[in-house]
Amino acid sequence: MLGFRKLTIVQAKLYLREPMAAFFTLLFGPSLLLLLGFIFGNEPSPATGGLGYLDQSVAAYMAMIIAIVGLTAVPISAALRRESGVLRRFSATPLRPLTYFLTDVLAPFLMTLVGILLLVLVGAVVFGVRFEGNLFSLLAGITLGAWAFFALGYALVGLIPSARAVIVIGNVVLYPLMIFSGAMVPLAVMPEAVRTISRFLPLTHLVALLRGLWFGQPWGDLLTEVAVLGGMGIVGTLIVARTFRWE
């Protein structure tokens, strides 16, 4: 237990000392919100279904932070540690692989929560964005999304032996997701073809889930999203369990 606690703390410190990971987790969301908020403002618009641009965006940016952490920070760190022999060094102690693994996802998850909190604070304080849902429901949605995307990221590490390839493929998967899932640009202004593609992208479902929970929609309306993300989490976890090795 002491090992678990100390390892979680060290993992969190290491995460914050990695400038790229720290920036994209903690500062990217709030900065994007500030930038686009000053450009577009938060006036209700027909293009975004009668809501202000930022009302729509806060939940979408949460989803984006989760996807960025899951597809870059988590797999890059895991792949590099496996390749350089860090995991090997841990494996020579009585530390159980599962304990290591849990801290390795818990630390980025806690950082993601901090990033989301900063995002919401900036939205609320600067632009008066309002939260209309249930806090526990939203937290549950964030956790489900993090499970799905962290599992996907870790599955890449399990399936791809080279750290360099993990980094490239993580980014190759991430960017189309960010562009075509309605996270950055509302789907309402996208052409029909893009909207069709976006229905098959997991980030679209995470955006829809968090946006729904943000506006207080009941879980019953969000079953498709829950099923897609839950399925992704299960498949990803199974792949990780079957393929991930210390070395």
Binding site: K6, V10, K13, R81, G85, V86, R88, A92, T93, P94
Partner: protein
């Protein structure tokens, strides 16, 4: 009379096969409590495979292994609680500080030692707050030894401990290993430096192509060669070789220009030669002795030179 308790590692008929090659081919040996046991041989001889089987990282294809009376694979967590491991190649996160690494690894064991004295013993006190990535090769290696000692292990595995270190750092590392043994930890090490094995180890197993070709104390291995010692010196004036040849133990004399080589048995050879030269009033220069080394043992047993 050795009891079971005195044997910390027992290996019988160990076999480990990789596609197309027997990395370890029917190897048997014991490591006794309190000794520095060395496995020495060229790269690819099977040293690292053997040590990784003992550490429980590889599944042997045949034979049995006991480490501290336990099966290193089946009882891996019990074994890891009681051994220290230093890998030939391993790493820590770039941005972990030295003290954080020691503090963290100490938390993985049920009975860790206080890590502060370990840090000092390894000469790392000044580097306490440095990032791992900023350390020199020798400093990193010392961090890994500190981590291997953090649970006060009964048995420490040191794989190619001094590879990549400069000669000075290498000698300092030998002193560290002797200190570890003095604290009561049995040491199992591998090396491809014959000199290291000769200077450091109580007993040495020479391994080549996955087989142990000899196992004994370095001195016994060298003595078993029955190789001659040599006394080499240079003279300017004429030399009466007969008075040297008449010395007890001298086998033969070679002379190339000013250089004289006296071959003979070890005991009293040097003092005999020096006395004879002084008695005859012969001025000599650059006198030195050349003794057979473990390197010669290896050469004789395998028919090839060890190379660094």
């Amino acid at each position: 009379m050795k009891t079971q308790d005195d044997i910390v590692v027992g290996v019988r008929n160990l076999v480990k096969q990789y596609p197309g090659v027997k990395a370890v081919d029917d190897v048997s040996f014991d490591v006794r409590r309190g000794e520095i046991f060395g496995m020495v041989g060229p790269n690819g001889a099977g040293k690292t495979t053997t040590i990784e089987c003992l550490e429980g990282f590889r599944q042997p294809d045949g034979g049995t292994i006991q480490v501290l009376g336990l099966d290193p694979l089946r009882d891996r967590y019990q074994v890891r609680e009681r051994i220290g491991v230093q890998f030939q190649s391993a790493a820590l996160p770039d941005r972990i500080k030295v003290w954080e690494a020691l503090d963290l690894f100490a938390a993985f064991y049920s009975r860790p030692v206080d890590w502060q004295p370990v840090l000092e013993q390894m000469g790392l006190a000044e580097k306490r707050d440095a990032y791992f990535a900023k350390l020199s090769g020798g400093q990193k290696q010392r961090v890994f030894i500190a981590l291997a000692l953090i649970n006060d292990p009964e048995l420490a595995f040191l794989d190619e401990l001094t590879t990549g270190l400069d000669p000075q750092a290498r000698r300092a590392m030998w002193d560290q290993v002797r200190t570890i043994r003095e604290r009561g930890t049995t040491v199992f090490l591998t090396t491809h430096f014959m000199e290291e094995a000769e200077r450091l180890c109580d007993r040495v197993a020479i391994i080549d192509h996955g087989k142990i070709v000899a196992l004994d104390t370095p001195q016994n291995l060298i003595d078993s060669l029955r190789a001659e010692n040599r006394v080499v010196f240079e003279v300017v004036a004429p030399l009466d070789e007969e008075s040297l040849r008449a010395l007890p133990g001298v086998v033969r004399i070679e002379r190339i220009g000013e250089r004289v080589v006296v071959y003979g048995q070890k005991d009293g050879l040097v003092s005999g030669v020096v006395n004879a030269l002084e008695t005859d009033g012969i001025r000599f220069e650059n006198l030195r002795t050349e003794q057979p080394t473990l390197e010669d043992v290896f050469l004789t047993l395998t028919g090839k030179e060890m190379r660094d």
